[in-house]
């Protein structure tokens, strides 16, 4: 016993520090390697572009700012407006899918089935080109927002449905026992809790939406990809233009992924 206690007293503190130091060194090496590998890949791509003479600096300086500022601005506008629209549709869709009212259930199910069963590009075309034949003429940007909202709303309906179902049954019983009618209980007790549950998924969808919004370039919305294609075509530098567009989407994705990660971490803390 005394020997053990002695050796602990002598070596105990240093060994703990040694382990911590070794762990720090490992972490540092991991991070350095990570950065190194990224740099190598990026340099490789840059080298390949230089050898192929695919990147044009003059175009990048002349047209790049337009693609980055105006294009990214419209892309963001589309994505933010559409995620809001999609969230509203998803809440309504989820309530319908969980309703005991057969009409509400049927309408919500039809919506989800139709949208999930057809390509987003087809939906964009139908809203922009077919609706005018019914007398509903939408400008390109509202049409794009409508298409993206409808599409993501259908997928998010299922997310919200799961979120609502994840709220424990006891919450309903407690609300009922306090005399709350169904609507009040839904609005004040269930939805706020369901939203907290699905916020990570909404963030995920928002990042996906940033990129899917490129599809509305096909209906002349002046977003990132549309500008890149037009400017690239007119100056015969399509590759540089597309690369700039790719960088814009990538940068937006990285920025919002960081946001989303932070948000998720904060929500997780709130639950403890």
């Amino acid at each position: 016993m005394t020997v053990g206690a002695d050796s602990e007293a002598i070596r105990g503190a240093p060994i703990v520090e040694q382990i911590a130091a070794a762990r720090r060194a490992l972490t540092l090496r991991f991070r350095l390697t990570f950065v190194f590998v990224w740099l190598v890949i990026i340099l490789g791509i840059g080298l390949a572009l230089a050898v192929a003479d695919a990147w044009d600096w003059e175009f990048a300086f002349r047209s790049g700012p337009i693609i980055v500022l105006q294009g990214a601005g419209i892309t963001l506008l589309l994505s933010v407006a559409s995620i809001i629209g999609a969230t509203i549709l998803a809440v309504l869709g989820a309530i319908g899918r969980l309703s005991s009212n057969p009409v509400a259930y049927a309408v919500a199910s039809f919506y989800v089935s139709l949208i999930r069963g057809t390509p987003l590009l087809v939906q964009i075309y139908l809203i922009y080109f077919a609706l005018p034949q019914l007398g509903i003429v939408l400008p390109a940007i509202p049409a794009g927002i409508l298409a993206l909202s409808l599409n993501y709303g259908a997928y998010m309906t299922e997310i919200f449905r799961a979120g609502i179902q994840a709220v424990p049954r006891g919450q309903r019983e407690a609300a009922q026992a306090l005399g709350m009618p169904e609507r009040l209980y839904m609005r004040r007790i269930v939805l706020p809790q369901a939203v907290r549950i699905v916020i990570p998924a909404i963030g995920n969808d928002f990042v996906a939406m940033l990129k899917d919004s490129a599809l509305v370039s096909t209906i002349t919305v002046h977003e990132t990809l549309f500008l890149a294609q037009r400017l690239g075509r007119s100056t015969f530098e399509p590759v540089t233009a597309l690369l700039i567009a790719a960088l814009v989407y990538w940068a937006l994705t990285i920025i919002f992924s960081v946001f989303q990660e932070r948000l998720e971490r904060r929500m997780a803390r709130g639950d403890q």
Partner: protein, 284 residues
Amino acid sequence: MTDARLPDLGPRPASAESGYDAGSELPTHVGEPIVKVEKLEKYFGSNHVLRGVDLEVRQREAVMIIGRSGSGKTTLLRCINFLEEPTVGWVEVDGVRLQADPLRARSRPHQEKIRQIRLRAGMLFQEFNLFPHMSVLDNCTEAPMRVSGVRRDEAVTRAEGYLDKVGLLEKRDEYPARLSGGQKQRVAIARALCMEPKVLLFDEPTSALDPELIGEVLLVMEDLAHEGTTMIVVTHEMHFAQEAADRVVFMEDGVVIEQGPPEQVLNDPRHEETTHFLRRFLDR
């Protein structure tokens, strides 16, 4: 139970429905019947859980329901405020009388009657069921403000009063996640009291608690009982029943086997099933 805070209505003979022996005397503090359960039956599928229960509870009376799990005691409690729709029978709470109607349970008039009953009968759950996204105070003011239309300042004053009563006023701005189980249940009691119900229904309120946290909840409940809160408690805490109950009801297989003052049912049971249950319970 006798207590300085309770009125003394003097000796009155107990009726057959009161749950006390006919010919004996009612506890001096209990008033008129406020909850009546008549011929109540409940099926879960083909499972006959309640087989005709009659129960009358009077104002200021504390009734504790005991029995093994599966005896139907929790179902009985949940049928009183229609968290379960009974299959057959009547429930009356503070003058609101409603017949079980499983076929039209979702109809609007039936639901409205149920709501009227629930406004008169507060319920406490094993799992507390506080609203996790609201502060303690908001948990207590939500229903009074949005269901009963109480003004915010009044709802807050009322909530603070009841939180003080359960000893948790200093936690008013905390969120439920930061509370211990015992504190959560005490907040749940304050939340129920904020609706100023005529009767409180407790469904095994201490069963989900760590042993060292049970006492604080029972203390609050005992206090309520001694103040004359009408309550129906499903419990396994025999010692608590002995201390705080005016009447103990023993259930088995979906019927009331026997009932009466705690010293009679718990110490000197008349039915073999009760003796059996109590012996098995004490063995554990």
